[in-house]
């Protein structure tokens, strides 16, 4: 299923449902509510893809990178494992537990590896994470029939072809406990569905679920390629994940500034800003104009600390935010929040291009983020 179906330079057109849920105190909950919520938006997906990302699910391996892999066959697995062993100490290699589930067919071999790069390899590198990225790129590009679909720490992505609720049950998500979850139901107009193409997209601990179409994909991809990102999944969502990785991890931008790159303010607005903001946003657009995500989208970007909701600049796709005690919701529709939670206090629709950010409370964070957290806790955003 992974071989021979990739269209170079192509991307995937899809309409979708997205749902994110995070406990900002870090209290964990299982995948049950996520499955219920995403299933509630069934008409936004067509059975050609569903997936979840969950944070905090592998506490026993919290310091190890978890590669979750799809293989077409044993040959691909062997090749990949040899490749990995060359540079990693593999602590655990295991088949990802699944259950037979009607509506989920022809699954690839699903394996996960908890591991860390060998000292020898990382010594040569200043930046371990860049090494991980390059390994992911190498496997995805070079090993036919193998695909890394998640590569972070203490987190995992579970996705495949089918309705999201079926995928959830297939992966037995009720057995996982995480404090932050995202889910995706997919409606590709491209009938060629494949497991790797389902959302979320992940690199390191960045996960992206996406509803929309990135009309600027062609240039976003070419720009990221200049920075060593090889877009192998042939979907526009992939570029979001890489762009986020580039901006936040590698270039050190704050999440908010990153959001202002992906959904840049209009020049008109920038022109009206006070000098400092004007300079900042002008520089952001000048430098990163090529990864402005143009076209209709709403996305949820997650990492271990944050869950970020964002729509395109002119809000062509839906996104609703909600709050219930320590729980933060970001969703395509409001109904699922109420379905799983009687205590949703307030919900609101963020403005186009305005990021909403949910963040773990007990972590040190840049002050810049504070304001957005405040705005998320209020209903006035």
């Amino acid at each position: 299923m992974l071989r021979g179906i990739r269209f170079p330079d192509d991307k995937d057109f899809s309409g979708c449902s997205i749902f994110g849920m995070m406990n900002v105190r870090g209290e964990k909950f299982n995948g049950e509510d996520m499955i219920t919520a995403i299933a509630n938006m069934k008409d936004r997906s067509n059975g050609l893809g569903g997936g979840f990302a969950a944070y905090g699910i592998y506490p026993q391996y919290a310091d190890l990178y978890c590669f979750q892999m799809m293989y077409d066959d044993e040959g691909a697995r062997k090749e990949s494992e040899e490749f990995l062993e060359a540079s990693f100490e593999i602590e655990t290699a295991e088949i990802i537990p699944t259950r037979a589930c009607e509506g989920v067919r022809e699954s690839p071999l699903l394996w996960r590896y908890f591991m860390q790069p060998r000292q020898k390899v990382t010594c040569e590198l200043e930046d371990v994470e860049s090494f991980i990225v390059s390994v992911v790129m190498d496997i995805n590009r070079k090993i036919d029939g193998a695909f890394v679909f998640s590569s972070g720490k203490d987190m995992g992505v579970f996705k495949g072809v089918g309705f999201p609720e079926d995928i959830g049950r297939f992966f037995r998500l009720e057995e996982y406990e995480g404090y932050s979850w995202v889910a995706h139901g997919r409606f590709p107009t491209n009938t060629q569905a494949w497991w790797g193409g389902a959302h979320p997209f992940n690199i390191l601990d960045w996960s992206v679920v996406h509803n929309g179409e990135i009309s600027s994909y062609g240039i976003n991809k070419r720009y990221l390629e200049m920075y060593g990102y090889v877009c192998t999944l042939f979907t526009d969502t992939e570029v979001v994940a890489y762009a986020v990785d580039l901006l936040v991890r590698r270039h050190g931008l704050s999440v908010e500034d990153m959001a202002k790159v992906l959904a840049a303010p209009l020049w008109d607005e920038i022109d009206r800003m006070p000098a400092e903001g004007k300079q900042l946003h002008t520089a952001l657009r000048q430098t990163y104009g090529s990864i402005l995500m143009n076209g209709p989208f709403s996305i949820i970007i997650s990492n271990r600390n944050q869950m970020i909701g964002l729509t395109d600049r002119i809000r062509l796709r839906p996104l609703v935010a909600g709050r219930s005690g320590d729980i933060r919701y970001i969703s395509s529709e409001e109904a699922p929040m109420h379905l799983i939670d009687d205590n949703v206090e307030d919900t609101w629709i963020p403005r186009g291009g305005e990021p909403i950010i949910a963040e773990l409370e007990n972590i040190a964070r840049p002050a810049a983020v504070e304001e957005n957290l405040l705005s998320l806790s209020g209903a006035d955003s």
Partner: protein
């Protein structure tokens, strides 16, 4: 010597319509029309007709038709009329064939073999009349990454961004030198660029003192002749451009005949009145890439590192490698001029046979710079045959940051592309210094026409962008996925980096 050259055009006059007002007589600087008082008839001297259609356009009764002389030699794919005409001319004069404007040979025009994409169903197209649509473009080197500091919850930029040119539409006016064109054309270009928020380029003719007021929208060229280059000139400019080559005449210099070097031009170019202005083929201080780097840095130093420096080359076979070198030599802007780029005067053989189409040069340069990871270090501006908003969109999607328009701007001002620029008798008052002719271009009107053109094209670009579901030009720039080729070979598609329509 009896000339064997047949008149290129015949002029038909409808006697019923002709009112003998003599407008045609007065409008033709080539003296193709004359009034015969004795017979009260307007007569023609067709040998002199340039086919510029000035008379046709101005005839108040539409009494005139200028048509190609049907007297042609027997059809021959090899020995065409044009070839014969050229040989007769050279047999009669012993000279080098001269021409004006851009190459008119029918090399493939790739713009016309590339089609654009639009949104249907899966994503919405955007209505530019209701939604914002951004064409603003910044030209100049961009950093690889932006370093951002945070204080009291506020982000601020720590990276020093190189000087940038801000364009409100990705279209600039190409290098057209004062001397090749009249002062009024320069003024029209300067005012239109200022009004619209874009730039015009002085070419190698220097900057007339009356145009310093538009310096903020002026790209001042430093060419091999160094005409008119002095401290104030560099200071007045918004950006500087080192001209290495020109699409119409790659590898050769320029020549402004002495009769065009009027007092004003002499003053502006800093050469004696009435002397020929000869631009050498190479810069005699640039014999290598490191020499170019030295000049780039000299110009930056001279202007306090406040102005981007562009380097313009003719599109030739190894443009991609050259461009890479130029970027590494410190050029902030790479200007590429394709084989169809215009000129005031060039040897016909050079114009028509040297260089490559801009589309291919652009694609290969953009690809190369990306492969080398240095695409952001310089902007790419392309010139040479941009004829419409669609060409602009295709150029941007292939990877250009902006385009230069020369011929299109002149056409907006009235040019009918008769290719007789080199005669100095431009009936449209454009490529001439004859005061009787130059006043035919009123800069008020010229400015308006150019601004209208930019407005129209910009609206069209917005429409096309909106149709693609894109509302900022940077999301189109280099977005080759939105292009498809029609009727192109595998190799052409590969170079252009696009897929065939239907695929």
């Amino acid at each position: 010597m009896k000339s064997y050259i047949l008149p290129e055009f015949l002029i038909d006059r409808d006697d019923y319509r002709c009112i003998r007002c003599e407008v045609c007589v007065r409008q033709c600087a080539f003296d193709a029309h004359w009034y015969d008082e004795e017979d009260d008839e307007v007569r023609v001297d067709e040998d002199k007709c340039a086919g510029c259609l000035r008379c046709v356009t101005f005839c108040p009764t539409n009494a005139l038709i200028v048509r190609r002389n049907p007297n042609q030699i027997p059809e021959n794919a090899n020995w065409t009329n044009e070839v014969l005409h050229n040989i007769y001319k050279q047999a009669e004069t012993g000279g080098v064939l001269l021409t004006g404007m851009g190459c008119d040979k029918d090399y493939p025009i790739y713009w016309d073999r590339i089609v654009l994409d639009a949104s249907q169903v899966t994503n919405p197209s955007i209505d530019p009349l209701r939604e914002p649509m951004e064409l603003r473009t910044y030209l100049g080197a961009k950093p690889d990454a932006l370093e951002i500091g945070r204080k009291k919850g506020k982000s601020s930029v720590l990276t020093k961004i190189s000087p940038q040119l801000r364009l409100e539409t990705p279209i600039m006016f190409s290098a057209l030198s004062y001397g090749a064109i009249s002062y009024n054309v320069c003024e029209s270009l300067a005012r239109a660029a200022s009004e619209f928020g874009t730039y015009y380029n002085t070419g190698e003719g220097g900057l007339h003192r009356d145009l310093y007021q538009y310096g903020d929208h002026t790209i001042c060229q430093v060419a091999s002749g160094r005409f008119g280059v002095h401290a104030d000139y560099l200071e007045a400019a918004a950006a500087l451009e080192i001209k290495i080559g020109q699409g119409a005449k790659p590898g050769i210099g320029g020549h402004l005949p002495g009769e065009k070097v009027s007092a004003e031009i002499s003053h502006t170019r800093m050469i004696p009145e009435g002397t020929d202005a000869l631009s050498p083929a190479p810069h005699h201080d640039i014999y290598s890439i490191e020499d170019l780097a030295q000049l780039i840095y000299a110009l930056k130093e001279a202007t306090h590192w406040e102005k981007p420096v562009s380097v313009k080359i003719a599109a030739v076979h190894n443009s991609a490698a050259i461009a890479s070198g130029m970027v590494r030599a410190g050029a902030d802007i790479i200007a590429l001029d394709g084989i169809r780029g215009g000129t005031g005067a060039a040897p016909t053989m050079i114009r028509d046979n040297v260089g490559i189409p801009i589309e291919l040069a652009l694609a290969s340069v953009d690809t190369r710079l990306r492969e080398e990871g240095i695409r952001n270090r310089a902007s790419i501006v392309v010139a040479g045959g941009i004829r419409s908003a669609a060409d602009v969109v295709k150029a941007v999607a292939l990877g250009a940051d902006a385009v230069y328009i020369g011929t299109a701007a002149l056409v907006a001002l009235g040019c009918h592309v008769c290719q007789k620029c080199y005669t100095g008798k431009c009936n449209w008052g454009i490529a001439t210094q004859d005061p009787y002719l130059t006043k035919r271009l009123n800069p008020e009107i010229g400015t308006r026409r150019l601004v209208n053109l930019l407005t129209g094209w910009s609206h069209e670009i917005m429409e096309i962008l909106g149709g693609m579901g894109i509302n900022a030009i940077e999301s189109l720039r280099g977005n080759r996925l939105r292009l498809r080729g029609v009727g192109l070979s595998e190799e052409e598609l590969r170079i252009l980096g696009i897929r065939h329509a239907g695929a």
